[in-house]
């Protein structure tokens, strides 16, 4: 019997799945925006592929939540090593 693969919405994804879903968008943005906005923070909403750019993660996350009140976002730093924070 053939099974139909249903795409999960961002709310159902684990953290790692969210990263996997958003990373291709990030790679495209790094190529397009990286030279101009190097080291800025980008938050990606995987269902709509909307992205939010800024230098302050709190401000960017608040803006993203305002546009997608029920959304979940993966954050990257716009460079080859997209780590946002160091602990």
């Amino acid at each position: 019997m053939a099974t139909k693969k249903v795409k999960k919405l961002s709310g159902d994804l684990t953290k790692e799945e969210l990263d996997t879903a958003c990373f291709p968008v990030f790679e495209k943005l790094l190529h397009e925006l990286g030279p101009r906005y190097r080291d800025w923070i980008v938050m990606i909403e995987p269902d709509s592929k909307d992205y939010f750019l800024g230098q302050d993660d709190h401000e960017v996350l608040a803006r993203a939540r305002k546009k997608h009140p029920k959304g979940r976002f993966f954050a990257y730093r716009l460079n080859e090593n997209p780590i946002v924070d160091t602990i």
Partner: protein, 139 residues
């Protein structure tokens, strides 16, 4: 909850006192506000290597009703880990502020550089006491 005066001038509050524990770790009390307004005071480790504001255990964030807004990659020691992020209302001895909070995988709370910005942290290893106050303006 403290309400800021309309003219946006911060009320004068004395320095926040913390302590140094038996392992030499610098600890400060931080208040987090649950989604229903309940305030919870925690003792958090000051880690000046941490570039963000605050880490609280992920389970605690869920139990106080904070909605997970996604995740990010962070460098922990030599490992890269994916951690959840939240927008939460917290207070470090002064007015409450909305900050980006990370979900930790262990039971520690960690205060980072961002939450200390604009403040003066004085650590006295002789007396084992520490104070966090508004930054002094030097002429």
């Amino acid at each position: 909850m403290m309400i800021a005066p309309k003219n946006n001038v911060r009320p004068k509050i004395g320095p926040l006192a913390g302590r140094i524990d038996e392992l030499g770790r610098v600890l400060l009390p931080v208040t987090i506000v649950a989604s229903d307004g309940f305030e919870l005071e925690l003792e958090a480790l000051v880690n000046l290597q941490f570039t963000g504001s605050l880490v609280i255990p992920e389970q605690l964030a869920a139990s106080i009703g904070w909605r997970c807004l996604g995740a990010r990659r962070v460098m922990m020691g030599t490992d890269i880990k994916v951690v959840s992020h939240y927008l939460g209302l917290v207070s470090l001895g002064m007015q409450h502020q909305d900050v980006c909070v990370l979900g930790g995988t262990d039971d520690r709370c960690v205060i980072g550089q961002r939450l200390l910005k604009g403040r003066e942290l004085t650590v006295n290893f002789t007396s084992g006491r520490l104070f966090l106050s508004e930054e002094k303006l030097h002429p």
